[in-house]
Subunit: 206 residues, 2 copies
């Protein structure tokens, strides 16, 4: 029987590989007839604490590997829109964009996804600080959401609670990295695993 | 100018993805005319301590992901010779096989590599405890090294010092995972990156 369930796509707005995967995941879903639900989470400020780990970029050896080798190499290979200066200055408060996303998601998931794509582009390609409410409001306005609504929405108790509930649920499902993908209860960690995911969906598992 | 330097292949005998990569790395080197130097290290008992991290399999969320999803899935896809019971019982003192390797390496690197392949097969496919000196001696004997020499060699001060020096050198080069590959000063972490390495060698970088 062909499976048709959605792809849950977990990512942190400030994770480079989360950004890279975001540029490919919808096409991958479409190829296999799967809806893709974007689920921003907070890797550094929430999930890694559960794991008892430091943020990746502050981890000796690994931080340098990511910023000097793995991230620029992947970006060049896949011609990712990114400002190279970002490689050495990754870091932004990820809570405001995540809250804004979940506020919008409750209103319209498709709108929230378009918003998230613009936020990611703003942060990685245009090197904007997307933690600023005005920057988020400016992007929301492109998608028909009024400034005041967006500002109030991202500061709303409902958005904060939804984000917290989503993060708790993600941890309960075993999500510990960005990107992290769950489809048909199968789990895939890392942009380097998108080819494996593609093959998995094509074959229906193995 | 075509580069011809060796591929340094770092792995831990008890790392499943180190084992998986070991089954492909020599063919990859041969394809690109590169010598492959195997460099066993001690991920859990040495490198992760420098990083301030717990062993991967004891890390919440990540441990279960590896043993329940990523490792079995990769093994099935690539038809890796492995006893499935190993997935839930990964763990062996990695020092004896690493010391035995470095003892043999000083004598003959090609011999040491053949030995390492048999040790990995013994541990992963045959589910043997390759921390036992007699098990290491039995494998060494297949390659013409006498039992007493192997036992004495793996307990020798020279082997212990060589292993320690290799680990220190690997950390100085930024090695923090298994497998980890360095070629032409470019670094690749993880079996999921072998395709990237292949492409890198084919194109001469990008």
């Amino acid at each position: 029987m062909t499976k048709t369930g959605p792809i849950d796509f977990y990512f942190d707005f400030i994770s480079p590989f989360g950004y890279f995967a975001s540029l490919r995941i919808d096409a991958l879903g479409a190829k296999h007839g799967r809806e893709v639900v974007w689920r921003p989470m907070l890797l550094g400020v929430a999930v890694l604490k559960v794991m008892g780990l430091k943020p990746l970029l502050e981890t000796p050896l690994k931080g340098e590997y990511l910023t000097k080798y793995a991230v620029p190499r992947y970006a060049r290979l896949h011609k990712v829109p990114i400002d190279p200066r970002r490689f050495d200055e990754i870091g932004m408060a990820p809570v405001p964009p995540a809250r804004a996303y979940w506020y919008l998601f409750a209103r319209d998931p498709a709108l929230a996804k378009r918003f998230a794509k613009d936020v990611l582009y703003g942060y990685w390609a245009e090197r904007r600080d997307m933690a600023q409410p005005e920057a988020l409001a400016e992007i929301a306005a492109r998608h028909g959401v009024g400034r005041d609504e967006m500002i109030a929405g991202l500061h709303s108790k409902a958005a904060a609670e939804r984000m917290r509930a989503e993060i708790d649920a993600s941890i309960a499902r075993g999500v510990f990295g960005s990107p992290f993908i769950i489809v048909d209860d199968e789990k895939f960690w890392g942009a380097d695993n998108l080819e494996m995911l593609d093959l998995w969906l094509e074959r229906g598992g193995w």
